[in-house]
Symmetry: C2
Subunit: 391 residues, 2 copies
């Protein structure tokens, strides 16, 4: 249990956590007075909270420009020596490492290629070591496969069958690993088109579909951290057998693999992605067969979204990857198919279907968020406040 709040000391840490979260989540730098108003606390209390956080090297106050009458206040910024998180995104044959500070400013540090073995984790550890300072507090990693219990990886197309990440992660830094589609959704919920939604869904459409249910800005993880394989539900009546071992998966009809199959090409990875995009381009240019392939893709997408909306009642649905192109090219078809799959009484108020706004950086951003979730927790903060800025 995450240390239930009980004492007045817990209360202070709790309020400081709320304050830091507010600063981290804000679009624009907050003023101290503004933050106090948002938290509903007095100016005196805010001064005390911020003072301790500055002393602990977590916040930095700088004079704010005056905007009107009244005594000028200060802006709450990330402390120049404050904790930072590193985030890594492991794609098919490359990876990116970035540094994120409080407030979300992201700096790319290094990218590299990898040999499609779990050695990529050691590479990332090496890169982290190259860039790490004592400011590094937490490392988040996004990878394209289900991560059971946060440490056991299953990626069939890389031939990773139940790879235990324990030894690959090491213990130099607190490290969290999660699925890239889920993290992309988390990024939309925290800093993208799903901001402020209570219940939402996000789907990343690449060769197939991965997604996540977002509740109050957090992604639903399931009992074993392997929730989100929406693409492997039989939502479109396909009679094909999927690589996952199941018949009729939604992913057989949506995504690059579905486009490729239409043209007699094998489901693929690597170069297959370019061929998928080529089909989209041909459809955009008006080639009939490509158009029909994209039509079918969009229709199947919409049907699945409608079915899921019946069960989960999302306020909005965001898409990333190919989904962004499908929205651009076939919004009408998607919405129509979705409406037909919606129960009648829902059709007057369908979920909004939106293109994600975080972009390709989504998994990286999401990895940064889960890394910062470690930092913005009462437990971490309590330790830091006791240990001082040199922690």
């Amino acid at each position: 249990m995450p240390q239930q709040m009980k004492t007045s000391a817990d209360l202070r840490v709790h309020n400081q956590t709320r304050l830091l979260r507010l600063v981290h989540d804000a679009d624009e730098p907050l003023t101290r007075a503004g933050a106090a108003r948002l938290l509903g606390i007095g100016r005196n209390t805010a001064a005390a909270l911020v003072g301790e956080l500055e002393a602990a090297g977590l916040l930095h106050e700088v004079p704010a420009e005056t905007t009107g009458r009244g005594r000028p206040t200060t802006l709450l910024l990330a402390h120049p020596d404050g904790p930072v998180a590193f985030a890594a995104d492991i794609r098919e044959d490359s990876w990116t490492l970035a540094r994120i500070e409080l407030g979300g400013r992201l700096t790319e540090l290094e990218t590299g290629e990898h040999d499609r073995t779990p050695m990529v984790f050691d590479e990332i550890r090496g890169a982290t070591r190259r860039h790490a300072t004592d400011r590094l507090a937490s490392l988040g990693i996004a990878i394209a496969g289900p991560v059971r219990d946060g440490r056991r990886l299953h990626i069939s197309h890389l031939g990773w069958d139940d790879v235990d990440l324990g030894e690959h992660i090491g213990d130099e830094w607190p490290t969290v690993v999660d699925n890239d589609g889920r993290l992309a959704g988390l990024a939309e919920a925290r800093r993208g088109a799903l901001r402020g939604t209570g219940t939402a869904l996000h789907f990343h459409i690449d060769f197939d579909i991965g997604g996540t249910l977002l509740l109050g800005g957090d992604s639903q993880r399931g009992a074993n951290n392997i929730a989100g394989e929406f693409g492997h539900m039989p939502l479109t009546g396909s009679s094909l057998r999927c690589m996952c071992g199941v018949q009729g998966c939604w992913s057989l009809d949506v995504g690059a693999n579905a486009l490729l199959r239409r043209f007699g090409q094998n489901p693929g990875y690597g170069a297959g992605r370019a061929r998928g995009r080529e089909i989209l381009a041909r459809a955009e240019a008006g080639e009939p067969e490509a158009c029909r392939a994209v039509d079918d893709n969009a229709t199947a997408l919409g049907r699945g979204l409608g079915a899921l909306a019946n069960a989960l009642d999302p306020e909005a649905v965001t898409l990333s990857g190919l989904g962004i192109d499908l929205i651009r090219l076939r919004r009408g078809l998607i919405e129509q198919a979705c409406a037909e799959a919606l129960m009648r009484f829902r059709r007057a108020d369908p979920p909004r279907i939106l293109a994600g706004t975080v972009g390709e950086i989504g998994p990286l951003r999401g990895a940064a968020e889960i890394a910062f979730d470690t930092i913005l927790s009462p437990g971490w903060l309590r330790t830091r406040l006791q240990a001082g800025p040199s922690m």
Copy 2:
């Protein structure tokens, strides 16, 4: 926003809320010393918290029987003049009203029949008025249809199309209305087979399937409180059109309607339920055609469960209604079909499929839980502590 905790006064209310929740959720009456240990607070603090709660008429301390060495302590019981919740379950043509006190003790008060119009809410209000004392603090109502935003009802088989409950509910008592399947699931999560699970699913199988996703003991409600129509996802490849307006719904293959259709009978309500049970009985007696119908039902059930498990990764799944019979008669078939619909890497660790243990009283129990959730909230408690027991 539910009144964020900020001050030390909030802290006390927070701890008192935790204490009351502990008492409400406990199987056996708790001792004061035991509760203090569970909450991780000192005996002195516990004495202060309990003292105030007793003075506010929320808890009652009685001497506990000594179990071993040491000074005897007291048992924390519901106060004889403490707040109670009423819960109502509206079934097809009848209703039940019950009284629930802190700790969960449930007393049936009255049952009646109704004319299948929204007037049933007025009847329930009348019955509530007959039994109400000033102890009544909250009323929870379970009903067999989606309740949009907690007040707009859609029940196609009763011809209720977007019925606004505002006027029917009145404002004599705080009243919450929700879907019966969801409430049955909540009952399993709070007091049944799903107790202690982090992520779970519950399905009530009657004529069709309704369900809910349970996260940390709470049911997921969706953006408009109409989540849970899992039965209206196309999980089994049916080509039939469902009454809900969608093609291929899972509910077309699972539940009493699917059994009836197999024997050329129309999907029904009322007497149809008995005919469905009769088919189950004939299958149990070994009649081949009935057996096949039940086999198909069980197989379709399992397939859907597997598909949903891929997406939501539940730790366990409970069933109520016909689901209990299907588990009893065809557990093997359900589990086999579920496994086949699970992605390969999940098959070694499938979700547990369990019969619900709360029984037919599930919706009523769940309605009691949401009614008590009102009472066991910091806001309500704060008011009560200020107003004294006469509130």
